[in-house]
């Protein structure tokens, strides 16, 4: 694989992290995810040992997950196999007010700084008596006790992939009060509960040390009997691992985007990786990771002044060159004419002409969620093509079949041929 290495800017912790599954990087379906189910809430209304055991059975029967259930020993100073955390790609935490011993706490802290995904349930915000700032530090919100029974639940962003197939979730159990300590895009509320005392965040996504976190503030015994609740947990596990959530739709918005021509595309994949496509420039302008877009600035009503859509995630790749795809002469800027697009199963294909030659550019997430694959197909005779991304930031652009040339790649493409580019923004760790 040839690769043009470019300065990595602003990636921070994202690149430090590596799910084990990323090691099994193949073109086909990725390896099953290993999930640690960490139990530690024996309250009769929660019974985490039993509920997580049932969850394990359900997850393994329905999804490509292998689960290890880890239970507290005695008063919870230790767990029966805390090392399972280190083996896992992601964890479900359902623990309440435990005081792990120093060695156990170290293993737990290590996991939460490893970049692995977390689905935290209900009492997880006050899981550790000797790590009281866990709620603010990891979950991004200060736990504030009970608020009473929910009258109704509201899905703040019903099209979020994490919510696919779970929109019929209802509860009348107690919900918590939280003081959110992060603002969008660092934290995105997905579910709010309303009761006489007001509106309270019930579920949200956030990030900690490059790890995706999904907090779901429900978990009474009866919730575990609800398909929508189980679906949310499974969706959460896909999502925190950047795997496409089954049943989630590709999100497409033609709107006003920063650093792009007017009426650019925001495309959100079912794994929470999104990109901006500029139909005038004729290329992908940037990729971000996490949530999708906030369109409120583009829809001001009578306020009239419009602002670009807000990105609900961190930009992990950016390129800026004019008309990046060239043919014939890499120095000549071609005429790009946008023709349309086609949406498929978690992929999109843009159609345009380049000096009259038809180009189809398919963009899809890599199966293990570590980046994007861009596949260019041509309705043209054999020719040399160049891809010149121009000034770049973030992850490198790589090209399995390209020759580094002119600040980009050259491809010698047969008639009716194609080439691919990869943007890989998460690396497997050593």
């Amino acid at each position: 694989m040839r690769r043009v290495l470019l300065p990595l800017l602003g990636l921070g912790a994202v690149l430090a992290a590596l799910p084990r599954a990323a090691l099994a990087q193949t073109a086909g379906s990725p390896a099953p995810l290993r999930i640690c189910l960490l139990s530690g809430n024996e309250e009769p209304i929660y019974r985490s040992n039993e509920n997580l055991a049932a969850l394990k059975t359900w997850l393994e029967a329905n999804h490509p997950f292998t689960c290890e259930l880890v239970r507290p020993v005695g008063d919870g100073a230790r767990f029966d196999d805390i090392d399972a955390l280190a083996r896992a790609d992601a964890a479900v935490i359902f623990v309440r007010r435990k005081t792990p011993d120093a060695e156990t706490l170290a293993a737990i802290r290590k996991f939460f700084s490893s970049g692995r995904g977390v689905v935290a349930l209900r009492t997880a915000s006050h899981a550790w008596q000797n790590w009281p700032e866990f709620d603010v530090e990891v979950l991004g919100a200060k736990y504030g006790s009970h608020s009473g029974a929910a009258d109704s639940l509201r899905f703040v962003d019903p099209d979020h992939p994490l919510l696919a197939g779970a929109l019929d979730l209802l509860t009348h159990n107690d919900i918590y009060r939280y003081e959110l300590r992060r603002q969008p895009p660092a934290l995105q509320v997905l579910l709010e509960g309303d009761n006489a005392k007001g509106s309270h965040p019930v579920a949200w996504t956030t990030e900690h040390h490059g790890a995706r976190i999904f907090y779901l503030g429900l978990g009474h015994n009866e919730e575990f009997a609800k398909p929508a609740f189980l679906r949310l947990i499974a969706n959460g596990l896909f999502w925190v691992n950047r795997r496409a959530v089954p049943g989630a739709e590709l999100r497409v918005e033609r709107t006003y985007m920063a650093d792009a021509a007017p009426s650019a595309f925001a495309i959100g994949f079912a794994n929470g990786v999104s990109f901006c496509y500029d139909p005038v420039r004729g290329g992908l302008n940037y990729v971000w990771d996490g949530g999708f877009v906030n369109l409120a600035p583009v829809r001001p009503g009578m306020g009239k002044l419009i602002q670009p859509a807000g990105l609900l995630g961190a930009v992990v790749y950016r390129e800026r060159g004019a008309a990046p795809l060239r043919h014939g002469d890499p120095a000549r800027v071609p005429l790009v004419q946008f023709q349309g697009y086609r949406v498929g199963d978690n992929l999109i294909e843009f159609h345009y002409t380049l000096d009259g030659a038809t180009v189809r550019e398919e963009i899809r997430p890599r199966p293990n969620g570590d980046g994007l694959t861009r596949r260019f197909r041509f309705d043209a005779p054999a020719a040399s093509w160049w891809y010149l991304p121009g000034p770049q930031e973030g992850a490198p652009l790589s090209a399995p079949a390209g020759q580094p040339e002119a600040g980009g790649f050259r491809f010698d493409v047969a008639a009716g041929g194609e080439f691919t580019l990869e943007i890989i923004f998460r690396k497997a760790d050593a």
């Binding site: 999100r251 033609r254 792009a260 007017p262 595309f265 009578m302 009239k304 023709q339 086609r342 949406v343």
Partner: protein, 617 residues
């Protein structure tokens, strides 16, 4: 027994005619209804401002979301259950379901060779398709309302920031902004006509002639229905810079005024709404009532107008009457009232009229309504046509011969407008025109009226409140406006129904009516009521309760009239920034503003509440 006779007489009176009902929308639909269409198979298709396209199966009434992610679609052409064309900001988008799952997966761009930036006001209105497959749409001007200069780095196509003549609040800094355009089936763009401002309605006549409604503003004295032909200049100056061979030094106000093609039918601001929408032709074959072949236009205020076009000396002109929304007494309209925001109309295959409503353009509510006819003709002026000496009126009912024969029962007032760079225009050169002769024909269903004077270049207001049907009923909508651009003889006025202001002429003080200068409250209030009914009623409503989410309610929000006279006069003159309240300084004189304020205080002010406000809680 006598009671029973009265009851039957009422039933027979044939008053109720139209029923308005709300059409329930799917709960996950987002954004106001920005386009309504039907496929040839009868499937209802909607677009929303937030970029969704929905379909409702005619038999099951089940909804499905056909497409999403469009950029503010404002028009639709529904070819079939699997192919829909949408007019959205960047282009025409052909959305097709190629795998039969009911949702579009293939999107093809057509046209799109017009300018596009980040300016919020770059709407693309449409969408109509003629028999040859050509599409028609219209591009709004950019607005300086956002006070943001256009960033050249975020501009599609050329950018030209030079004003034409004087800087306008509405500008055409990128290509073909303010133009009506044709897009060929292969996507080729043919710019047709310049001079549009906010052309929020594109229609094709049954003969594939293009009509566009435009909105009042600078260089636009009033809203109206404009007949568009290739090469026309339609009034607003900003867009002429994109005409081939344009040279700034050649252009003067007078040269543009001489070229300006005014509306075929002017919609006088106030009585005929404030913001006209899409024109649709009644081709229902009588299933929507007696107005077959006429044009219906929805206005942003709760109003649907009815336009009767005719060709006079080879050009279209005609009359406009209110249809629904001005006199919706229970006797004429059943069910609900019109919701404001309804600028999108479409006739369903069953002959009912659907109205798509959009908030967010200054009040109004998002929604969908449907109007059905119950088979009884409302008492109305069916048509108003120009004759050599005046006008002929036909009626939907036989009229009472006694009221019909009296010349004084027909009040004609004519007026015209300024062609100028100021928002809107006062009605100028107003005059009462006497009816000299009335000829009753067709057993009281038609009259011919000879006027004392008939000149081209004026709007003629007709008021027939005194007429009665043979059964003694008044007309549902007794006021109409005929735009006389031409006489039967072929005599044509330059500049449509506008003229240039004479040097130093346009000072508002010169046109205060005597009653508006009066100090006696009663006379001032009476004068103010007339002003209110002309300019304010469309948004604030006769009840003073305004529009939900839009124009203020003086009744429910007492803080409005708690403001000082000075504050309120300022709001009337200058408008309210960021709200729908326009500036009336150009169209309402200072005397009229004082009068309307006196009326507001008399009609809606609440003295008892002022006392209550001092009470401790």
């Amino acid at each position: 027994m006598k009671k029973l006779v009265v009851f039957f007489a009422l039933l027979d009176a044939a008053l109720a005619a139209y029923r308005i009902e709300t059409v329930p929308l799917p709960s996950s639909l987002r954004g106001g209804i920005s386009a309504v269409a039907f496929t040839p198979q009868g499937t209802l298709v909607l677009a929303t401002r937030y970029g969704e396209i929905w379909m409702q199966a005619p038999a099951t009434k089940a909804w499905r979301r056909f497409a999403r992610g469009l950029n503010e679609p404002l028009g639709l052409h529904a070819e079939s259950e699997s192919v829909v064309y949408a007019a959205h900001r960047p282009e025409i988008l052909r959305a097709a379901d190629t795998d039969g799952d009911g949702r579009a997966d293939d999107f093809q761009a057509l046209g799109g060779n017009w300018g596009l930036t980040h300016n919020y006001h770059e709407f693309f209105f449409g969408l109509r398709r003629d028999r040859r497959g050509n599409f028609y749409g219209a591009l709004s001007l950019e607005s300086t309302g956002d006070k943001a200069r256009i960033d050249p780095a975020q501009t599609r196509g050329p950018l030209d920031t030079n004003p034409v003549l004087t800087p306008s609040f509405h500008r055409s800094e990128t290509r073909y902004r303010g133009w009506a355009v044709q897009i060929a089936p292969d996507g080729e763009l043919v710019p047709l006509a310049s001079g549009l401002r906010q052309p929020n309605g594109v229609g094709l006549s049954p003969d594939d002639e293009l009509f566009v409604t435009d909105n009042q503003g600078d260089w636009k004295a009033a809203c109206g229905l404009i007949h568009v032909e290739r090469g026309d200049f339609l009034g607003h100056t900003s867009s002429v810079k994109w005409e081939p061979g344009y040279r700034a030094e050649d252009v003067t106000v007078e040269s543009l005024w001489r070229r300006c093609k005014g509306p075929a039918v002017v919609f006088p601001y106030g009585p005929m709404g404030v913001s006209a929408g899409e024109p649709v032709w009644d081709l229902t074959g009588g299933r929507f009532g007696p107005f077959g072949g006429q044009v219906f236009v929805g206005d942003f205020t709760s109003l649907i107008m009815r336009v009767a076009l005719e060709k006079v000396a080879r050009a279209w002109q005609g009359a406009v009457f209110a249809f629904l929304g001005r006199n919706d007494l229970p006797a004429y309209v059943e069910g609900e009232r019109l919701t404001p925001g309804g600028t999108r109309l479409a006739f369903a295959p069953d002959g009912s009229l659907y109205i798509g409503q959009t908030g967010g353009w200054g009040g109004g509510a998002d929604g969908l309504q449907r109007v059905t006819w119950d088979g009884r003709a409302p008492p109305e002026v069916l048509a108003m046509t120009l004759t050599a000496r005046g006008f002929a009126l036909t009626f939907t009912h036989p009229m009472d011969p006694a009221t019909l024969a009296r010349p004084e029962n027909y009040e004609f007032d004519r007026f015209r407008f300024y062609y100028h760079a100021i928002y809107g225009s006062p009605w100028i050169d107003e005059a009462r025109v006497a009816v000299q002769e009335v000829k009753v024909e067709a057993e009281g269903r038609r009259v011919e009226l000879a006027l004392a004077d008939l000149q081209p270049g004026f709007v003629y207001q007709l008021s027939v409140t005194a007429l009665r049907t043979a059964r003694g009923e008044p007309l549902a909508n007794p006021t109409g406006y005929y735009t006389v651009n031409r006489l039967r003889s072929g005599e044509v006025a330059i500049g449509g129904t506008t003229r240039l202001p004479r040097p130093g002429e346009f000072t508002l003080e010169t046109r205060d009516a005597p009653a508006e200068r009066t100090e006696t409250t009663e006379a001032l209030v009476a004068a103010g009521e007339k002003v209110y009914r002309l300019y304010c009623v469309a948004c604030h409503q006769a009840s003073g309760r305004g529009l939900p989410g839009g124009a203020a309610s003086f009744v429910d929000d007492k803080s409005r009239l708690a403001q000082s006279d000075e504050q309120l006069l300022q709001s009337i003159a200058k408008g309210i920034d960021g709200k729908g309240m326009p500036a009336f300084a150009a169209s309402v004189s200072p005397g009229q503003r004082r009068a309307v304020l006196a009326y507001l205080r008399a009609a809606f002010g609440d003295k008892t509440n002022a006392k209550d406000a001092d009470k401790p809680e």
